[in-house]
Amino acid sequence: MTDDNSLFDYVIRLADDHLILGQRLGEWCGEAPTLEEDLALANIALDLIGQARSLYDYAATVEGKGRDEDQLAFLRYERDYRNALIAELPNGDFACTITRQFFVAAFMKPFWHAMLNSKDATLAAIAAKALKEVSYHLRHASEWVIRLGDGTEESHRRMVDALDEMSIYTGELFEMDDLSKRMVEQGIGVDAAGLEREWRTTVETVLSEATLKFPEVSHMQTGGRAGRHTEHLGHILSELQYMQRTYPGLTW
């Protein structure tokens, strides 16, 4: 255990990643290109929200101030959310959503795998469950990347556009700031920078089967971990927080 807020802040980052991405995927409900895909996307959204709940619940315990998962998830200000920017990007078309899921799952799979060795027993237990789920998410997204990349001319073109749009947000996933470094030093956190090579291999293997290429990126966007978000987050929060803000302090 740490005597400062490091662990709380670290867990909140992870929780926010999963909540915000789950919220985005939830927007697909009833909107997917096939009924089977509607069920699959809802499934993944459910996994992500479930993971977010475990993480917020743990953060609340660590904080020990009597806040619960909902107060942490719903009742913070824009700048206090710490998710990576990629999680909050709009769904766009199906190619965009799949690309976003693909990039994130290709990162989260080795991340949770490494987290299995965390000295923090709760995080290691959350990792064990999440690892099974994210393995499916990665398989699901990879299969679609291949289908769309190596499908029709239109689907290929849409994938090229989606890669172009999403790739500039992938660098942030591997950033190691002071907090992440402290967590690694304490044997609690994961060395995200060390996962980049594996991520790159996963991504390039799938993209090459899909007859696609990872685009040249002149500059990686960043800021989420410091609460500097895209303009999209405020709109997500206005829906996410609507009930809690409109009817403060009630039980649902």
Partner: protein, 331 residues
């Protein structure tokens, strides 16, 4: 909603008397009819109509509740709502597959929905305006659906009956979940109770309409009864629903918006006020509050997904061709 599936159903059939009698004998002996069994054309058509309308209802029904996923008040409620809507999509999928055993493809059925030729339950043309509506929909709409579907678990057509058994378990879970949302509201603040009462006010009558109009002496309905596609009249099922639901409303401390609702000692059942069948037919024919929007959405989603479905197909073909080429090279 599923009795509505018989509206306009044409059970007319052209088989000879001996065939029909043999078929009726199997039905009377409570034997299940399976996909490859001989069956009258009218029986098949009636089932296709009812099952596909049931499937369409599950799919369109995802819209009003889907409207609240991003705004659910807690993480637990958000997850439960998402899982419920996912279940409904699964019901749709399962029912389309069951319909396919009668020789009609999912594509054909989808086209019928999108062209407006096929209907879905009138209830989904009402809007989900507040969070309390999510409670009311689970409690009343899933509750009414269960009344119909429990009866359908004994339907003479095997694949439909089996689908219903599986689906009923999930529907009753949805009903309890919806009721639990109502309990939370009714145990809450004054404004929460108001939300709950308002939702009941708006969903009560449309829920009663889900059972469809009284059949009187409708020929189609009596044919469906004889074939044991249908086992109870619309009015009987509606009464069962009212008898089960009124005490639940009382427990919540809510009042059912029907001044003529009264317990009848003689019939051991509630008498209720007149249902506005004009409203019902208006909604069925397309002029409910959300008909146009529901259909517009469904068509948009279908249109926007076309390139994805084409890509999946094209990719599968490429794969197949590559496999054949490499097989030929190996030979």
């Amino acid at each position: 909603m599923y009795s509505q599936g018989l509206i306009g159903a044409d059970g007319a059939t052209e088989e000879d008397e001996a065939f029909l009698q043999a078929f009726q004998k199997r039905i009377d002996a409570e034997l299940k009819i399976e996909p490859n069994d001989p069956m009258p054309e009218g029986y098949r058509k009636t089932l296709v109509r009812q099952m596909s309308q049931h499937a369409h209802s599950e799919i369109i029904g995802m819209q009003p509740e889907g409207n609240w996923i991003t705004r659910a008040p807690t993480l637990r409620r958000k997850a439960a709502l998402l899982a419920k809507i996912q279940d409904e999509g699964g019901h749709g999928l399962y029912l389309y597959s069951a319909s396919e055993t009668l020789g009609v493809s999912r594509e054909e059925l989808t086209d019928q929905l999108l062209s407006g030729a096929a209907k879905y339950s009138s209830i989904f043309n009402y809007p989900a305006l507040t969070w309390a509506d999510i409670g009311a929909i689970g409690w009343l709409v899933d509750g009414a659906a269960i009344m119909n579907q429990i009866a359908l678990c004994r339907c003479s057509y095997g694949p439909y009956a089996r689908a219903m058994i599986r689906i009923c378990k999930e529907e009753s879970f949805h009903q309890r979940q919806g009721y639990e949302i109502m309990i939370a509201l009714c145990n809450g603040s004054d404004e929460q109770k108001e939300l709950a009462q308002d939702a009941l006010n708006r969903f009560w009558w449309p829920s009663l309409m889900m059972f469809g109009p009284s059949e009187g002496d409708s020929v189609h309905s009596s044919q469906s009864m004889a074939w044991k596609i249908k086992r109870f009249s619309n009015d009987d099922l509606r009464d069962k629903f009212i008898n089960a639901t009124v005490p639940q409303a009382e427990y919540l401390g809510l009042s059912v918006p029907d001044p003529d609702l009264r317990w009848n000692e003689q019939t051991k059942s509630y008498d209720h006020g007149d249902i506005d069948w004009e409203e019902f037919w208006r909604v069925v024919k397309g002029d409910g509050p959300c008909n146009r929007e529901r259909m517009k959405n469904r068509r948009r989603v279908h249109r926007e997904g076309a390139w994805v479905r084409e890509a999946a197909l094209a990719h599968a073909q490429k794969r197949e061709e590559r496999k054949q080429t490499s097989r030929m090279a190996a030979e």
